[in-house]
């Protein structure tokens, strides 16, 4: 009797890329729900638009490169990139800004280098940095959370949609009246004005127990999603722990030595994209270091550089640039942190 030939091994692999990417995207759903609760439908609109834009650009790029479109898209990496960009961007952005971010992420960061697996830079962060530099005003327009006691004008849905599609608010609404500085902005200003953080926190209703109001909740749910991924073995502990250590250790030391005049570890942890970066962004396997020790160095570098940018740099949140800088260092890190092979000296 004849049989089919095949190459060993003959057991089925447990996972696939598509399943992994989908699970990571789903881990952000609780955070997205909370985000919507505090900041309105903008996040959901963003997620939908970003997914559509990323998938669209990816399909275009695959078609241009002559690669099978549907098979490659089934790895769901474009969807995940879209979701991450949506979380990174401010919730109310003109649609062309959002689409530019997705285009930069998919085309510039991924396909120019050969597609998934070959990109040295994190696509979501490259997209974010691209629009941060190209559209600085739009990118600094963050709406405050919808918490009752904050005194500001809440635009209505129709007004928000108008802004999204035309880039301008209807007459009568001033940008200054709607947007507010983010907690990170406030801290920078406070530090410059030599205010003590305690005074700032009690003075401004923007601050919750740890970081910014609303933001702490979102951060917590992002961390929950990250914890789920750790439990499932989809990400490993090295990068998240290292990123948080790289940010929180200097932050703690700084807070101690300046006697509370700068953001402490709790603040940094729950502000900006710290938790998102630790669990979802820095853990992008393609652009991260690959050996265990290398990942610790990589993660710590991201956390540390982000903290440095937050403290002394020109941008309130330095995560994107920190990630991109460490991406550039990855080949060097990998070269020097290769594990010792069993049976060899090195």
């Amino acid at each position: 009797m004849r049989f089919e030939p095949a190459l060993s091994p003959y057991l089925r692999p447990e996972t696939g890329v598509g399943a992994v990417m989908r699970e990571v995207s789903l881990a952000l759903v609780p955070a997205a729900v909370i985000y919507f609760f505090f900041f309105g439908f903008g996040i959901l609109f963003n997620i939908a638009l970003c997914i559509a834009a990323c998938v669209g650009f990816e399909a275009l790029a695959l078609r241009l490169r002559g690669l099978p479109v549907v098979t490659t898209l089934s790895d769901c990496s474009a969807i995940l990139t879209g979701v991450l960009i949506a979380f990174a961007l401010p919730t109310y952005l003109p649609v062309w800004v959002t689409i530019s971010a997705c285009g930069a992420a998919v085309l510039l960061a991924k396909h120019v280098y050969g597609g998934i697996g070959f990109n040295p830079f994190n696509p979501a962060m490259l997209g974010y940095a691209f629009v941060l530099i190209a559209f600085p005003v739009a990118m600094s327009s963050w709406l405050p959370p919808a918490i009752g006691d904050l005194d500001y004008v809440r635009p209505r849905v129709f007004e928000r949609l108008t802004y999204l599609f035309t880039g301008s608010w209807p007459a009568g609404l001033e940008l200054d009246a709607i947007t507010r500085a983010t907690p990170l902005d406030l801290v920078r200003t406070a530090v410059r004005d030599q205010l003590m953080l305690e005074e700032l926190r009690s003075a401004s209703p923007m601050f919750g127990d740890f970081g910014g109001r609303g933001w702490e909740w979102i951060g917590s749910f992002i961390a929950l999603g990250g914890g789920w991924l750790l439990y499932r073995g989809i990400i490993r502990w090295h990068i998240p722990v290292a990123v948080l250590a790289g940010m929180l250790i200097p932050a703690t030391l700084d807070s101690v030595f300046t006697g509370g005049a700068s953001g402490g570890p709790g603040f940094h942890l729950f502000s900006g994209a710290t938790l998102l970066a630790a669990f979802f962004i820095a853990t992008d396997p393609v652009s991260a270091a690959t050996s265990p020790r290398g990942r610790l160095i990589y993660g710590f570098g991201i956390g540390f550089i982000a903290w440095v940018i937050r403290k002394w740099g020109g941008y309130p949140d330095g995560i994107a640039f920190a990630v991109l800088l460490m991406n550039a260092a990855v080949p060097l890190i990998d070269h020097f942190t290769a594990p010792r092979i069993l049976g060899r000296e090195r």
């Binding site: 009797m1 004849r2 049989f3 089919e4 030939p5 095949a6 190459l7 060993s8 091994p9 003959y10 057991l11 089925r12 692999p13 447990e14 996972t15 696939g16 890329v17 399943a19 992994v20 098979t71 490659t72 790895d75 597609g115 998934i116 697996g117 070959f118 490993r236 396997p285 393609v286 991260a288 690959t290 050996s291 265990p292 990942r295 990998d334 290769a338 594990p339 010792r340 092979i341 069993l342 049976g343 060899r344």
Partner: protein, 507 residues
């Protein structure tokens, strides 16, 4: 005999917990497959040089009679598995990773299974000299029965020369589906222990550890009981955690002793000698009855077989006969794997014979992975490096092999890859990593060979150039000397001599 606590074990730096799939075949029973009409015995069923046939077509042979002799130091012989007549010595397809044909001795059995009368048990095996023992093992065609089929004589001789002190018996059997060692340990623990004692005593080894995987409690119990008959203070039972590939030779040495077998080396380089439990049983059988290696236990299993279990098979039996005795195939049988599901070979034809290396036959359905899944680019997730038992980085090896940096493969440890297959199982992109590494190893061997050849040609060319240059220089010097003209005084002298000899007598 004592048992060692598991805390003393070292930890493998990787490996996977795999589903066992052993329940169906590990009943503890061993059934004998009837002698087939035709035995097909390849002259090379082992790693090393093929044996030389010492019978001719038409010869009558008996069970246990040697029919092929070892050729050189790294070889072993072949014996007739039953009595009959040699009907042909010709090239036939043999089981292996590539579809090749090789010389086989074909015996038509007469059904009488008569024993060869010149079989020689070892007298006083526990007091035998190493040389006597090695000679007997060499003549008996014994090879490692864990699947690698390394000639046992060569291995023991190397070990004696290297001065090993620790014998390790491999009862781990870590690969899923396979349970032949388990069956042997449950049925013949006394023989295994006896064979162990022979090897220990005759080779002057200090100690022995028998590694048994923790999923084999019956085997453990059988050994503990057997110790009361054949116990020895030098032998220790050790439970090994059920992690694949703990049963790999280098891995087991590391687990039990913490010593790392050097890259490209052998366990004997770190003072250890590893044998499969089946090999020990074969040595015991040889010592007691003089029987050479003519049969082995084969696990026949999988959803494609009606009666999975362990069967004792005469070497040379066609696989089809074994499958038929095991109840035949079910409708699920799409693939026939010789060996385990991680390192085995998918055979295309069941007319192939059972050889010394065949420890398991899995008839399985399409539930097993196909090779046609879309392979995606590597996403550098690093899972493969996390579970590699040798601490290699398969993602780097793949990149170096596929994208042209072949010369970095040596530094990345390509030759240390044991081809266990763990990396394939965890890769989310479904890349056939193990096969790529097999290809890469061959490409490296060819590249090294070609470079050595080129280097040799270059040396010969340069030496030749030097030689030609020296010759040309000497030639030029000579010509120059001649062209310069002879010494006028010398010419005058010659002329004077000539004038002094008018009969034209030249000097």
């Amino acid at each position: 005999m004592t048992s060692a606590p598991t805390e003393n074990l070292h930890r493998l730096p990787g490996g996977l917990r795999l589903p066992g799939f052993k329940a169906q075949s590990a009943t503890g029973e061993i059934r004998d497959v009837p002698i087939p009409k035709t035995l097909v015995l390849p002259v090379r069923q082992h790693a090393g040089s093929a044996a030389q046939p010492i019978v001719s077509v038409g010869d009558r042979v008996m069970r246990g009679q040697p029919i092929a002799r070892a050729e050189g130091d790294f070889s072993t012989g072949v014996h007739a598995s039953s009595s009959g007549t040699v009907v042909a010595i010709e090239s036939r397809p043999i089981p292996g990773r590539e579809a090749v044909e090789a010389a086989c001795i074909i015996i038509e059995t007469d059904g009488r299974d008569e024993l060869w009368d010149a079989l020689a048990p070892i007298a006083n095996p526990l007091a035998a000299t190493p040389d006597a023992l090695l000679e007997a093992i060499g003549k008996a065609g014994i090879v490692g029965l864990g699947g690698a089929a390394f000639p046992t004589l060569a291995k023991l001789r190397h070990a004696v020369d290297a001065g090993v002190d620790t014998l390790i018996l491999n009862g781990v059997e870590c690969e899923p589906y396979i349970s032949c060692d388990d069956a042997l340990m449950r049925n013949q623990p006394v023989e295994i222990l006896f064979g162990t004692r022979i090897m220990l005593t005759a080779l002057g080894l200090r100690q022995c550890a028998i590694g048994i995987e923790s999923d084999k409690p019956e085997a453990w119990a059988a050994f503990t009981e057997a110790a009361s008959i054949e116990g020895d203070d030098r032998v220790q039972l050790v439970a090994i955690p059920t992690v694949y590939p703990s049963g790999g030779e280098d891995q087991l040495v590391y687990l039990l002793t913490g010593r790392e077998v050097p890259s490209g080396g052998f366990p004997s380089d770190v003072g250890a000698l590893v044998h499969n439990v089946g090999t020990a049983a074969a040595v015991a059988d040889l010592a007691l009855t003089g029987t050479p290696l003519i049969s082995r236990i084969v696990t026949v299993t999988g959803e494609g077989i009606t009666k999975p279990g362990n069967y004792r098979v005469r070497l040379g039996t066609p696989i089809a006969d074994v499958a038929a005795f095991a109840g035949g195939y079910t409708e699920h049988a799409k693939r026939l794997i010789m060996g385990g599901p991680m390192t085995g070979v998918a055979l295309t034809d069941d007319a192939l014979p059972v050889t010394k290396a065949c420890n398991c036959l899995i008839a399985t359905g399409p539930a097993v992975r196909t090779s046609f899944e879309p392979e995606r680019p590597c996403i550098r997730c690093g899972e493969c490096a996390r579970i590699c038992p040798v601490r290699l980085q398969p993602q780097q090896l793949l990149r170096a092999h596929r994208y042209g940096a072949g010369d970095t493969l040596d530094g990345l440890g390509l030759i240390d890859c044991i081809e266990c297959g763990c990396c394939d199982l965890v890769c989310p992109s479904h890349i056939p990593l193990t096969q790529s590494f097999r290809d890469a190893k061959l490409a490296r061997r060819i590249d090294v060979y070609e470079r050595e050849r080129a280097e040799r040609a270059r040396e010969r060319f340069e030496r030749r150039q030097e030689r030609e240059q020296t010759r040309a220089d000497a030639q030029a010097a000579e010509t120059k000397r001649l062209k310069q003209g002879a010494n006028p005084d010398a010419i005058a002298e010659i002329l004077a001599r000539k004038r002094g000899a008018p009969d034209g007598d030249d000097d």
